[in-house]
Subunit: 777 residues, 2 copies
């Protein structure tokens, strides 16, 4: 754990340069716009430890799988988000001497991520080995208005000398993914083009053949005047740069503006890619840096209006939750249904592929409540569009007749992961995808989604479960053998309660949805049944038979659902009795020992109760929580949030707050010593859930927004904006109660602590609540 980030409500601030923290800060200070993302690297040369990273959404490479012992059915490759051309580079030399913080003495250094306005600023004073001292300030952002572009203003001021400043803005396409399996480079050069003040390079990914054209324009100013300087083109394999020199005087500032664009053949015809890139660069040059920054601020203000959480009385918590919301909004904007949310977003390379079940289970609730419904709809359409691949994937594993198994990890719909116990067995992911459809329609009331898209996916998923279970003659029930549940510290278990329950739910939801579409959109239903060769009566009959006869393991004595067959044969030890030096067990124990133990990585039975809490009475929830949570080591960053929400539900606000704290500053404080690999983007949505679904107790049921709030004692108040069915509601919770403001023209039905209210358009509602303040340690 590290605590070098300065507290601030709206900014992430690093003061002083600690090279050993640099890669961590590069992750934390990432900027992005959903279309591209850039780690907090330096513009000028840096020869110290760094992970230079620029990632273009949707541009991936199928890296040949590395595997020790091949199993039939493994994918041939692992699709990786590609580290793309470095577009931020500005080489700076002073009288021929390189500006490089690794070789300079750094007198002052400050990195600041302005989350409110959406830009990164860095300023430092450094003394070069020659003794020359310079002050530099750079400001950069990836525009969310012009989302294929990024801009930089880079100011250099000599402090104790006059001399010759040489600057070389460049684009370097000779980039290698740090996680390349076989140490290969994934890009080939297609073309290079250099004008006096602009340079373009087009690169093509090997195998996948994506073209990306990266272009730049730059200008140099002093006292607001643009200078007309002679330039020299510098060009080599996969590299274009433009160099110019000028005499600079002590204490006189020179500012370089660099305008860059990254255009992909996914979004432009290949043959027009260069000209489109030139047009895009010209357009932002015409707009100018200041106007772009102004637009950026306005666009971010609009995002915050939908999604901000304000915490009064706890700056550290305030900073953390805004950081999470900011990074989520930088990662995914819903502009493009081909994109999704990688576990590291655009902040690193780890975990390669972009989409896990994290999206449906953790991110969807965030985007549902903080953005227009179309944003979540795009996430759903991503899976809809990959249904064909999910059916192919199931076929590879021996299923047929339209059964769909969505991959564990994917970019383009094909499975990327290759551990049999995960790839082939962690199949509950299929259920999360069905659940997201349910959650989306419940939240948005967009019932048309079901006939248009949802049902087709649900039928594919139900068909999978139908084939995946088998009849046990011994039990005279259906069983599901050989699965891995959300608790990945158990592999190849039989009758994982969560998976069995979720499979039944999926089939039941599919049956209901069939009936709904059959009645509400008979023409669409006919078209669909024909397309899918869906034998309505027969298939539904089979599903219903499974639902009615499924084995769901329980322990009657304890009144709990049993995580899987045989769970009670394990030695029952609680996490509190595990010596500290044994944790985290995934670093200290061999895999068999982890598997044999009763220790749980992340919510499993409790994930099921979390999804369907309305199906269980409080006593049932409490018995399961009290049994499973003490056995849970929470070694996934996705674990605490579910427990926070359930603890809040159970009235255990103290523990809800404790669970919230476990992930709130996961990356800002580098809890797990892995932030340098990139940020834990998907778990950030979990922290948001801990506050909104946990502390505020927000739910949506029967077209109503429901709140059962409390406030951690350390906080004076917290408030958040919620987008709900084209209304935007501001919810404030303070020591007295709940204060709602409907900022829209639409009335919303509200329930607070069980009492129903109508919150009319453009009105306020102040309710004193019973539970207002919980003292926490």
């Amino acid at each position: 754990m590290k605590q070098y980030i300065k507290a601030d409500e709206w900014k992430i601030i690093e003061e002083g340069f600690v090279p050993s923290y640099n890669k961590i800060s590069e992750s934390i200070f990432s900027v992005g716009n959903g279309r591209m993302g850039q780690r907090g690297n330096f513009e000028e040369t840096y020869t110290g430890e760094t992970l230079q990273g620029n990632y273009i959404a949707g541009v991936y490479y199928p890296d040949k799988t590395r595997v020790g012992w091949w199993k039939n059915g493994y994918p041939e490759y692992f699709a990786k988000v590609l580290n793309a051309a470095n577009w931020i580079g500005i080489r700076v030399q002073i009288d021929g001497e390189e500006l490089d913080l690794h070789t300079c003495t750094v007198e002052s250094f400050r990195r600041e991520l302005n989350m409110q306005e959406g830009y990164l600023q860095r300023s430092f004073t450094a003394t070069l080995p020659s003794g020359k001292q310079v002050a530099v300030t750079s400001t950069r952002f990836c525009s969310i208005v012009d989302d294929e572009t990024g801009v930089i203003s880079y100011s250099v001021t000599p402090l104790n000398f006059s001399g010759l400043l040489t600057i070389t803005p460049f684009i370097d396409g000779d980039i290698k993914n740090q996680d390349s399996n076989y140490d290969e480079k994934f890009w080939d050069e297609i073309s290079r083009d250099v004008h006096p003040s602009g340079a373009f390079i087009t690169l093509r990914t090997k195998k996948t053949g994506f073209d990306v054209c990266s272009g730049m324009h730059f200008c140099v100013t002093q006292r607001g005047e643009q200078l007309d300087l002679p330039t020299e083109a510098i060009t080599k394999e996969k590299f274009v740069g433009i160099s110019c020199s000028l005499a600079v005087k002590a204490n006189e500032e020179t500012v370089i503006y660099k305008y860059a664009a990254n255009l992909s053949s996914e979004n432009h015809p290949r043959e027009q890619l260069l000209s489109a890139c030139e047009m895009q660069v010209n357009a932002i040059v015409a707009k100018g840096f200041d106007m772009m920054l102004q637009e950026q601020k306005e666009a971010w203000a609009a995002k915050w209006a939908e999604s901000d959480i304000v915490i009064d009385g706890d700056v550290s918590a305030q900073q953390a939750i805004r950081f999470n919301i900011f990074q989520l909004n930088q990662t995914y904007t819903g502009e493009d249904a081909r994109l999704n949310i990688g576990p590291k977003g655009f902040t690193g390379e780890k975990y390669g592929g972009s989409t896990y079940w994290d999206t449906e289970a953790y991110c969807v609730p965030f985007y549902l409540a903080t953005a227009d419904a179309r944003v979540t709809k795009q996430l759903l359409l991503y899976r809809y569009n990959q249904l064909g691949k999910a059916i192919e994937n199931a076929e590879k594993l021996g299923f047929n007749k339209g059964a769909a198994l969505y991959p564990m990890v994917t970019i383009n719909g094909e499975e990327c992961h290759n551990e049999w116990e995960i790839t082939f067995e962690e199949i509950h992911r299929n259920g999360a995808i069905a659940y997201a459809i349910y959650n989306y329609i419940r939240y948005t009331d967009d019932k048309s989604y079901m006939a248009d898209y949802g049902l087709e996916v649900l039928i594919g998923i139900a068909r999978f479960w139908n084939q995946r279970v088998n009849w046990s003659e011994a039990r005279k029930q259906y069983v599901m053998l050989g699965v891995t549940g959300p608790n990945e510290y158990e592999n190849n278990v039989n009758n994982n309660w969560y998976t069995n329950m979720l499979a039944c739910w999926c089939m039941d939801y599919a049956i209901q949805s069939v009936q709904f579409v059959r009645e509400s959109a008979p023409d669409k239903f006919r078209t669909l049944t024909h397309k899918l060769q869906f034998n309505d009566a027969e298939e539904i009959g089979k599903w219903q038979h499974i639902i009615d006869n499924m084995y769901l393991p329980v322990d009657e004595e304890r009144g709990i659902f049993l995580q899987q067959d045989g769970f009670l044969d394990k030695e029952q030890i609680l996490v509190k009795d595990l010596p500290a030096d044994q944790r985290p067990i995934n670093q200290k124990w061999s895999w068999d020992r982890i598997l044999r133990s009763c220790f749980i990585k992340q919510a499993d039975v409790l994930q099921g109760i979390f999804f369907f809490e309305e199906n269980y009475d409080l006593d049932t929830i409490r018995r399961n929580f009290d049994f499973y949570e003490p056995r849970t080591v929470h070694e996934s960053s996705l674990s605490p949030c579910v427990h926070a929400v359930l603890a809040a539900k159970l009235g255990d606000e103290r523990r809800a707050y404790e669970f919230y704290l476990r992930t709130a500053r996961l990356d800002l404080n580098d809890y797990n010593n892995d932030t340098e690999d990139g940020l834990h983007i998907t778990s950030m949505a979990g922290t948001w859930m801990s506050i909104v679904h946990g502390f505020a107790g927000m739910r949506v049921q029967n077209d109503r927004l429901i709140f059962n709030p409390f406030i951690p004692g350390k906080w004076k108040a917290f408030s958040f904006n919620i987008a709900f069915r084209s209304a935007i509601i501001n919810v404030q919770i303070n020591k007295e109660g709940v204060h709602l403001i409907n900022r829209s023209a639409k009335a919303v039905n509200i329930t607070i602590e069980g009492k129903e209210y109508l919150l009319n358009a453009h009105t306020k509602l102040d309710i004193k609540t019973e539970k207002v303040n919980v003292e926490v340690v």
Copy 2:
């Protein structure tokens, strides 16, 4: 399946050259002597498909592990038997034109492995592109008398021309393992030394630092006269050769004799390696090729006297069983306790490490019965000497206090394998190692082994099981969770009957052995308890408590032992109902589907019954056999033999013969399309078992040799030689009965079909048996 090997009782014969079969033949025609082994490669240049392979026992390289997803506890490397310098090479040029069967027209070609006398002969007539035709005959063997040496006689006869013959005998050390994980070469050169008629090269393995000096001497003769020819040294990095030219006339034979030695620093002081190699080469040059061949024939005759099986009336079966016995004797001679039996012996690189539990379960019975007791003792000492590493291995997995877990795959005692479900969970291997001690002492009556070596191993193993089980509060019994049994088509199962039973047996045998040593060798016992900090009463008490309270899954209804918890929840399908196009399932099905199915790779419950058949009545054996065998796909070459022996035991001779047929000619007919990777050495011992323990029904119990024989109807008779407690017994079984000849000076107690006999020294015994002939289809 291929059938290009000609039938012959004593020879393996290939006639005609089929390049696409060449790698298969290279495996089949391997020669070795337990110290080194050489695939059936050509001496002259061959530019077609080939796997050039020469392997030196005990010389390995720790190749960095390749793994997709690292699990804590995985070994860093996989130790591989090394492909070493090519010592057989003799380059042949005719008027400057290369003799290379890949570019020649091959008129006739014959490879012949003389198993009786232990050498490989190859002869061919080939026409070079120029039209020149030559006849070549080469004879080579690895001497089992001078076991660091190999010799070649290579004869060349011009058939339609006279011209200049240039020959270049060489040693090429620039060798790469085909299975190198990262495409690295594993050898560095230390020195090169070339004399006019001899050349030496010393190479050192990277990381492990084994030095191997390979040396050669050669001479050229015509009409039995050695020629004195000028020679030219050819030397480059990792290569030494000597070239000479001579005028040859049509139909005049020139014979080159090449004498080679491979000496390893494992057997000689490093600084004397070169001089020792020179001495060794000089010694065999002095002996001469003919004398060496004579000694080789005599030594093989002695081996056959101990281990031959003669089958009368079935040449194909005769050839096959001799091939298996021959290859086993080429692989392991018991000369060196640091060596063991790799699954491919010295005939290929696959499976890297040398030792699996195959050695104890399948090979020990063969060597016990076909060689002096010291040969098997060496195999046991190999494990005894690696006990310390087995304890370290267990410690890495979280065990302590002297618990030993022998590795799944090893060369030097360290674990090499890296699949968690095997490495960490296929722990029954520990039981096979204990069983081998039991089996050795039962067969040889060498009770002193227990106090000297056996008990220490048994205590380490019992300590492991003691820690590996856990008490289930739910069952009020001990359970063993998370294991993989011999049936590797189930992973991470709970309460595998075989493993649970074997664990109890190990602890019970350890308790008995403690008592035996305590009484029979009290001094040694005291020393041992002190060395092991063995708390006699307490530890034995705990073991006994586990034995008395172990959960062993059974199905009462069917009266069978249950392979593992939940086995009957599977869909119960029989192999006969599996469509042929679905097999082998390990090539057709994804891993999860295999795991979920009831199909069994190799004997699991039945392996336990096979080991301890005297503990089960025939009905119990039959019920289990009839339940499990029809679910068994026998996709391990180690599977059929166990079933053959059990089927014979059950009086189902027809099926016993069918199982025998499945492996008898596994490599000779390339059943699995993988013989080119090397021979299935360890499964060859299984075929031997099918005949001796199966057809002849041989057992050793209470110091008696027991037979319950039958004879397959196709055979007229079969006989074999058995070494038993310093006696050598010839056993012949024909249509009338059993005919025994005691060729030794020691009387042996015999039981045939339940009747007891005393077979005195140097006497015969002819017994008419009830069951003499079984017609097979």
